[in-house]
């Protein structure tokens, strides 16, 4: 029988450290089974009960480390393609097209008529499509950490936050979305789940938006007028970001969802 001083003390510390988690009791019960099994094996190899317990606890990792991993993993999912991430891929593909069509319709028509109204509605749909697409990217990675969550919140709130800039609201909206997408891009690159090429394009776009913004500010301070530059200068960074997002969207939409069979069964029985 193993000396029971080290393991109960360790389990008490672990219980205290994971107390905020719903499955705290299960975590501790599983840890206890694991530790006692390691002790049994080590004792069978000739260790004393105390040596075996000390090694079992060391190999398991400190209660602080295990609790930290438990807490961080409790907010993550599995980085697998699902039907929802596939739909989000289609949304990411659609968002730039909706923006393009909406912008074109908005500019090409006067401020009245059915065509103008349709264009405004289509333009309005581009934003939820983008947000759903970003959410899908986050889900595809099983979560993108605190930075990813913060970036998604900034993206969701960007239309409201940009009102603070009054006449420059559209510029602030672009900057906020660019920053959110940049953070997303960097976190996705770090996660190494999706292909590097579209991620690089997704990151390059927002960097170009920020660089352009800084250049425009510098020009304004030197009495220049950046407002006279051709439209392509302003649109290129946005187009780059849109191409990167659409590319990622295409990739998400082509993946085999792990819940495909289940969805089909649900449909068949409904």
């Amino acid at each position: 029988m193993a000396d029971d001083r080290l393991i109960p003390a360790y389990l008490r510390e672990l219980r205290f450290s994971v107390a905020r988690l719903r499955d705290a009791d299960d975590i501790v019960a599983e840890a206890e089974d694991h530790l006692l099994e390691v002790v049994d094996h080590l004792m069978a190899d000739g260790r004393t009960p105390h040596e075996a317990e000390a090694e079992a606890v060391t190999r398991f990792g400190s209660a602080e480390l295990v609790a930290k991993v438990c807490i961080s993993e409790s907010t993550r999912g599995a980085a697998v393609p699902t039907t929802k991430t596939r739909l989000a891929g289609y949304a990411l593909l659609l968002a730039p097209l909706l923006t393009l069509f909406g912008e074109w319709g908005n500019e090409a028509t006067d401020n009245t008529g059915g065509m103008h109204g349709t264009a405004v509605v289509v333009l309005g749909l581009a934003f939820p499509a983008l947000i759903f697409g970003l959410w899908g990217l986050q889900a595809r990675h099983g979560g993108l950490g605190r930075l990813g969550r913060a970036a998604l919140i900034v993206a969701v709130l960007s239309p409201i936050l940009s009102h603070a800039a009054a006449y420059a609201a559209i510029a602030l909206l672009a900057v906020l979305l660019a920053l959110a997408i940049l953070v997303f891009g960097v976190e996705m690159l770090r996660a190494s789940v999706l292909p590097v090429a579209p991620l690089t394009v997704v990151i390059a776009g927002p960097i170009a938006v920020v660089a352009l913004g800084l250049i425009m500010v510098a020009v304004a301070f030197t009495d220049g007028d950046s407002g006279q530059w051709p439209n392509i200068v302003y649109l290129s960074p946005i187009a780059l970001t849109a191409v990167g997002l659409a590319w990622l969207g295409w990739h998400l939409s082509q993946e085999t969802p792990v819940d495909a069979g289940r969805s089909r069964r649900r449909l068949a029985t409904s």
Binding site: L14, D23, D26, I27, A29, E30, A31, E32, D33, H34, L36, E37, V38, R59, F60, G61, S62, L65, V66, V69, C70, S72, E73, S74, R76, G77, A78, A79, V80, P81, G142, A191, S192, E255, T256, V258, D259, A260, G261, R262
Partner: protein, 112 residues
């Protein structure tokens, strides 16, 4: 092998092991160490949270039994987990082949 490198591929490793299961946590870790000749040696307690996450995501399912008076949790793959394991294996193979094309290629220009 560095723990952070392993952690990036932990889901695939766990799914691939449990595919041959069902296994309880200790057995999974034993397989992980055994199949890699000890090259993968994470702090054992940090693998359990990943197993719980995979269960929450519906890729694994677990059952509790009593063994030698102790509560024991055993994991098996769900149908969704089987598909995920296949998909992750395919992703890993494609990734490894791509990297190998670069790092395993002869220096340029070749003299052959």
């Amino acid at each position: 092998m560095r723990a952070d490198v392993v952690r990036g591929h932990l889901d695939l490793l766990l799914l691939a092991i449990v595919e041959d299961g069902p296994y309880h946590g200790y057995a999974i870790l034993d397989e992980l160490r055994g199949r890699t000749d000890g090259a993968i040696d994470l702090p054992e307690g940090t693998v359990y949270p990943a197993l719980h996450r995979l269960e929450r995501a519906g890729l694994l399912t677990s059952t509790w039994t009593e063994v030698n008076g102790r509560k024991r949790r055993t994991y098996s793959l769900t149908p969704k987990g089987t598909t995920a394991a296949k998909e992750k294996r395919r992703e890993w193979t494609a990734f490894a082949e791509t990297v190998q094309r670069i790092v395993g290629a002869p220096p340029w220009p070749t003299t052959a």
